[in-house]
Amino acid sequence: MRATQASFYSTKSASGSGSGAGSDDDDILNAMMAGMESDFTVPKPPSSPASEASSSSAESESVSGSDPEPTFVPKPIDIEKRLKALLPEYLSYGGELAPKPKSALHSNPSSNSLTIAQLLAAGLHLGHSTSLWNVASMPFVFGVREGISIINLEHTLTHLRRACTVTKAVARQGGIILFIGTRPGMDHVTIDAAKSCNAYYVASKWCPGTITNAQEIVGPHTPRQPDARPGDLAKPFKPDLVIVLNPIENMIAIREATRFNIPTIAITDTDVDPRVVSYPIPANDDSVRGVELVAKVLAEAAKEGNVLAAEASKRQSRERVEGRVDRMNSWSRRP
């Protein structure tokens, strides 16, 4: 630092003679600084560690003079690729994330390949106690055993496949699908199912008015339209399909969706009236494994719908481009 100060002042003195009004100050400054340059020399350090290690007593050889010159030839490389190649090693340093807790299902099962045995294994046939029975669910009850109603899994499978078809069709049209699953132990089921098919989810409490009072509740979080003037309200979205995994706790959500003519799918147990939703799936809503199976099957159907939508839009854009190219060619061919 002091070396540069000295050099700064020395360069000033070299060019300062012709600076006009400030030259008087420069002369005084130069007179002051003239004798001080010797104070600012950088001292040579004592012998460096490398030479200490070799314990050489010959300090006479100057450090800079005898060093071999670096014979470096710059060869530009793709540094992004280089870092990416080293990334597995870099990821191994620091800390390791604990492995994700494995769910019973490895991948999403498809509704076409589901069997009643799988539904039975997931415990979807176990209804509620007969004293809590809702009469409207009678068509779906197979019988009674040990005081609980047993749900007929043939109906479960049929209704589940129908719900999958609806989900797939909504996803194919690019509709907004909303998964609602608010039981405390099943929030990860809702979140995983929704995230796997680019859908929306409500995993904690359903805020009443999310659909009927959307401007107040969802509006503040909705991004404004790009051509909105300041002061314009945002236009909040409403779902095109609502899938409820525990309808007993979310009756408000179902009622809101029905009021706005949004189709609903729900896992209706024997204590729920299945007629409140458009597409009930009579099944057990208490077993995490069962709810996970149903949610994953529906998510898989939504994913298939997304894939179809992507293919259709690609085909559409290709046809649009080809149409333009064809029209271009036909114009150029005009006599």
Binding site: P49, E69, F72, I79, R82, Y93, G94
Partner: protein
């Protein structure tokens, strides 16, 4: 009811193992007591603090490197970056050491000599850079986009991975002093240091580092200049050059 929360809490970071037994230290660099301070206490403490900080935030599910890169620019997550980066640097440093280190391969020696002139110059300049680091930090050997090997000092928990968090500035120094700093052998900057300003299309690939945090060398070497010089001398004898070799010559390196 709390099962999902327990499952979420379990998915946090753990301290990785070292290639040597931490209880016996790594000779001649760290005695068992020193290694206990650095690894058993400090590394574990950093990871615990990081887990505390990321629990419940979106950083919970991110891979470790992502945690560093994503929190680097954020004003709110400074502590997350500091802890994560320091733990990464510490682990990077400890994994390069070995109780029975292999010697430098010829290819690596040639590579270093190309950029520095000779291995002695490299060791000398590396030591000078490390001794010039006033305070706590890390001294790195990094590679840039031209394949040149150069030295880098990062203060505190600075990381060569993120261009804005390299923390190279000793606050008493300024950019246009770099030329004079390079001539001052006490400053820790030399002609083999990385340039003061990082070019836009450049990033650094870290190859080797040494910890110049006081807790690293305090137990065995003290705070004196001679102690730190001995620390660096022992460091060069403890580095496992085959690990360094792997980093330099991985796919893309030449």
């Amino acid at each position: 009811m709390a099962l999902s929360f327990k499952a979420a809490a379990a998915r946090l970071h753990t301290v990785p193992d070292l290639p040597y037994n931490p209880r016996s230290g790594v000779a001649p660099l760290f005695s068992p007591a020193a290694l206990k301070t650095i690894y058993t206490d400090h590394q574990a403490g950093l990871i615990d603090r990081l887990n505390e900080l990321i629990a419940g935030t979106p950083y919970e599910d991110k891979l470790y490197h992502e945690v560093i890169m994503d929190s680097a620019r954020s004003l709110n997550e400074v502590q997350i970056f500091n802890n994560a980066s320091q733990a990464w640097n510490n682990d990077f440093f400890l994994q390069s050491l070995s109780a029975s280190p292999s010697s430098m391969s010829d290819a690596l020696a040639k590579r270093i000599s190309d950029s520095f002139g000779s291995i002695e110059v490299f060791k000398r300049e590396f030591a000078t850079n490390a001794l010039g680091l006033f305070g706590s930090g890390w001294t790195w050997l990094v590679e840039d986009k031209d394949g040149r090997l150069m030295l880098l000092n990062t203060y505190n928990a600075g990381s060569p991975h993120h261009r804005r968090r390299m923390q190279r500035a000793d606050e008493t120094a300024t950019d246009h002093d770099f030329a004079s700093q390079a001539q001052n052998p006490y400053s820790g900057a030399s002609k083999f240091s990385a340039p003061a300003k990082l070019m836009a299309n450049n990033s650094y690939v870290p190859i080797l580092c040494v910890s110049m945090w006081e807790h690293a060398y305090l137990t065995d070497y003290g705070v004196t200049l001679e102690g730190r010089k001995k620390y660096l001398k022992n460091f060069f004898e403890t580095v496992d050059w085959s690990v360094v070799d792997g980093r330099v010559f991985r796919a893309g390196g030449f």
